[in-house]
């Protein structure tokens, strides 16, 4: 399986020398720190959103200025058109850029619901645009593309996996992942591990099962499926009252995943159980929903699990990035996994075994738990389950944080995450023994402050916090002593990662995903999407 990449690498070295044009991805780059390529959603497999680049640094960041901007083009005219939907399928307006572009051989590749683009990383000029005729589905977002050799992969809102030729944007094939009529919708960025294209999904409205699957990059055939709720007789089945509830128990897999090549384990954070807020038909912990699980990418076999929200009833998907950290603790080399969860708890795990090391709230507003159990899991307070008469809970269903990527900086040892502290009243509306859908209504009831927070990754203690206007935000930190993020008021900011002090900013509108960075022609670029526009900055 590694052979394909070896051949690819030889081809690259022989024909391209110093790469100046489009071409296949050298697969060995996937496991390395991102420098002259940003070949995955996270930049690498670790989910750290950290770059070793330091050309842009604290001493010169004031000179950071606009290199180019690209406003996404969603016109069907001139596009390469694919898809199963009708010719007059609605275009859905100008979508926001929630993907993080890949940068490979001087070309940026990114996607939005029903669209994909190649844009020249030097100039911001569009090279090709692919247009997908949709059958429908919730068009809330798309996290981007995966790349294998010269092939690109992305998911559509109506739940197809589409593969494109990176050179031309021409479609190679598309394969259905699942049925949009069951209220599934698909947003994740596929993750490439050797010859596996890892694919996931979302969908909360009709109590459907969630799973993760692996597909062959050449044919699109399914290699394995892992269901995030157990099948009858499997371990974890005891955490559900019956077969029916676990087969309709949700656990969506909608956030890009991380991977440790040495352990050959991928780390998947799963979504909430279903019915979402009415838990009476699914008494028990509801494994493996709202959990972090380790899977073998060759077989889909579960190695371990850690549940961050047992029996969730507040829509707290645990799909925040499982960030992989390597460090020496007490003279011992440790492989760790850090996660700041939507439910407001920070977790540190041993990623070899799944054993919990730290569980700690990272905000002040939480009111839904009764401490932490022997396994390190928060204990939910049943009094805060949705009730007909209403209960006040923080966080609300948007959570303390959400899908935008946090950043871990090994230079400071700090884990950075955008947070808010919202409250909602949760009113149970479906009192049937077999509730369906969400089963409860939610109404906002105010919020305490939003902050960018820096957490000491070893202890979970918040070391500094800086006020922002909205909570969760995509982040990037670099060896240049910079933390890039935004304030929720339209400013793209370079912060001092040690203190949170702003060092540089540009008003570009609210960032809609984490920034990424790359080296091209000896120059460091920082690229970020805001609304429907991609901005690239460099030093003049």
């Amino acid at each position: 399986m590694t052979m394909r990449f070896s051949i690819g690498a030889v081809f690259l070295a022989a024909t391209c020398g110093a790469l100046v044009a489009q071409g296949p991805l050298d697969g060995s780059l996937l496991g390395k720190p991102p420098v002259e390529a940003w070949p995955t959603y996270h930049g690498d497999y670790s989910g750290r959103h950290y770059s070793t680049l330091d050309q842009i640094n604290q001493s010169n960041v004031k000179a950071l200025s606009l290199a180019w901007l690209y406003r996404i083009n969603t016109s069907k005219t001139g596009a390469i058109v694919g898809g199963e939907g009708p010719d007059d399928a609605p275009a859905g307006g100008n979508p926001t850029i929630k993907s993080i572009p890949l940068m490979v051989n001087g070309m940026l590749y990114f996607s939005a619901p029903d669209h994909a683009w190649a844009v020249d990383a030097r100039t911001g000029q569009e090279v090709w645009h692919y247009y997908w005729k949709t059958k429908g589905g919730i068009h809330i977002g798309n996290r981007g593309m995966g790349m294998y050799n010269n092939w690109l992969f992305f998911e559509t809102p109506d739940c197809y996996l589409v593969s494109l030729d990176a050179s031309t944007g021409r479609e190679r094939w598309h394969r259905q992942i699942t049925d949009v009529k069951q209220e599934y919708f698909c947003t994740p960025s596929p993750l490439i591990i050797r010859n596996h294209v890892i694919v996931g999904m979302g969908g909360d409205s009709l109590d459907v099962p969630g799973w993760l699957e692996s597909r062959d990059p050449e044919t699109g055939d399914v290699q394995w499926k892992w269901y995030s709720t157990p099948r009858p007789g499997q371990p974890g089945a005891e955490s559900w009252p019956d077969i029916y509830s676990m087969e309709h128990g949700g656990g969506m897999t909608w956030q890009p995943w991380t991977y440790d090549p040495e352990l050959n384990l991928m780390y998947v954070a799963t979504g909430n159980p279903n019915p979402v807020m009415a838990g009476q038909s699914r008494r028990g912990d509801n494994l493996y929903t709202a959990s972090i699980v380790a899977l073998n990418p060759d077989s889909g076999k579960l190695a371990w699990h850690f549940q961050v929200s047992p029996h969730d009833t507040h829509d707290w998907d645990a799909t925040q990035v499982p960030v992989l950290i390597d460090d020496v603790l007490n003279g011992q080399r440790r492989k760790l996994l850090a996660n700041a969860s939507r439910n407001g708890f920070y977790f540190l795990l041993d990623r070899t075994t799944g054993k919990n090391l730290v569980t700690k709230p990272f905000v002040e507003s939480l009111n839904w738990h009764k401490g932490v159990d022997a396994l390190g899991r928060p204990i939910p307070d049943p009094a805060k389950d949705p009730k007909v008469e209403g209960v006040l809970v923080s966080p609300n269903s948007s959570g303390i944080t959400n899908w935008p990527a946090p950043s871990f900086n090994p230079d400071t040892g700090l884990f950075y995450v955008g947070t808010s502290q919202p409250f909602s009243m949760f009113y149970l509306t479906d009192t049937d023994a077999r509730p369906q859908g969400y089963g409860a209504a939610e109404r906002q009831a105010g919020a305490l402050g939003s902050y960018l927070r820096a957490i000491d990754y070893k202890t979970g203690t918040v070391v500094w916090k800086h006020m922002t206007q909205t909570g969760a935000q995509g982040l990037l930190s670099t060896a240049g002593g910079l933390l890039f993020g935004n304030d929720g008021a339209g400013n793209f900011i370079a912060f001092d990662p040690k203190s949170g002090k702003p060092l540089w900013h540009a008003g570009i509108g609210n960032d809609t995903n984490a920034p990424m960075t790359y080296m091209l022609d000896g120059r460091q670029y920082v690229t970020v999407g805001a609304g429907d526009t991609l901005f690239a900055f460099y030093l003049q």
């Binding site: 409205s205 459907v208 008469e389 006040l392 009113y427 009192t431 919020a447 500094w464 006020m467 702003p502």
Partner: protein, 283 residues
């Protein structure tokens, strides 16, 4: 929170700034961050739904339950792929003519208009589950009005700003009970949660005073504040913005709703229910 320091400089916190500002922005955040958002709710012909319901209960209800969620041996039809795939009774009609004899589902020979009505009923039930912004909140009046009154005048501290004979006259008649509850929890909140979208923030704004190095001051309603700028709208409805550089100019904020925010971490759910029960008596 030992060891925490706040890096936001230059703002004198007459009141809790972050809470107030976040409140203005929370609707925006919710819209950006909710993973699932409802599409447009489909409309159904009420008469067809009613006819379909009656036909369904008579022909199908025994096995599938009168609400189609499953019953004596028949599966839940709200989650049925066949129902979800159906359009206007076409697929459903074709299925009913044959049934699934091997698994106990008999064939039904129903006239097409009746099949179409049954399909409309089932699709309306699917939508009722899938579209959470249509969910109806039940009876929330479970509190003790007397205890609510005591809380109002005691631990709640409501009477420091409000009085039942003054600003709250008729408040129990003015709002639906749920909205009354949400109003006292956070008067500036837009109401519906992430599942239902909100309206624009309402209620009194945050007051801001900007003092320039010259000593000149500007006072008004806060429109926006970041590390780099502050914007206010003054009493004559003029909008003014100022660049900020650390502590210059001096910015002071006061949120008249600060006590409402402070109470969020203090209420018990019983307090909320009792206070609601008391306030609805103020007709």
């Amino acid at each position: 929170m030992h060891g925490v320091h706040e890096a936001g400089a230059g703002v004198k916190r007459t009141q809790n700034l972050p809470s107030a500002v976040t409140c203005l922005m929370i609707l925006l955040a919710a819209a950006v961050l909710a993973q699932a958002q409802p599409a447009a709710v489909p409309k159904f012909d009420d008469a067809a739904v009613e006819r379909g319901k009656n036909a369904f209960v008579a022909a199908c209800g025994f096995c599938h339950g009168s609400n189609a969620r499953g019953g004596e041996g028949g599966p839940d039809l709200i989650r049925s792929v066949l129902v979800l795939d159906d359009e206007g009774g076409k697929e459903l009609g074709a299925f009913l003519r044959v049934g699934r004899p091997g698994s106990g589902m008999p064939a039904f020979d129903l006239p097409s208009p009746q099949v179409a009505d049954i399909a409309t009923f089932l699709h309306s039930r699917v939508a009722a589950a899938a579209f959470r912004n249509t969910y109806q909140i039940g009876n929330i009046l479970v509190g003790d009005a007397k205890a609510g009154e005591a809380f109002f005048n005691g631990a709640g501290g409501c009477n420091t700003c409000h009085s039942p004979g003054g600003d709250l006259v008729g408040v129990g008649a003015k709002y639906e009970t749920v909205n009354l509850q949400l109003k006292f929890l956070m008067p500036r909140s837009g109401g519906r949660g992430p599942g239902g979208r909100g309206g624009p923030p309402q209620g009194p704004p945050i007051n801001v005073t900007v003092t320039l190095p010259s000593g000149e001051t500007f006072h008004g309603a806060l429109v926006r504040i970041t590390d780099f700028d502050v914007t206010l709208r003054d009493a004559s409805n003029v909008t003014r913005s100022f660049a900020r550089n650390g502590d210059v100019p001096k910015v002071e904020l006061a949120d008249p709703l600060q006590h409402h925010l402070d109470m969020l971490t203090k209420y018990t759910d019983k307090n909320i229910h009792d206070l609601t029960a008391y306030l609805v008596t103020l007709k």
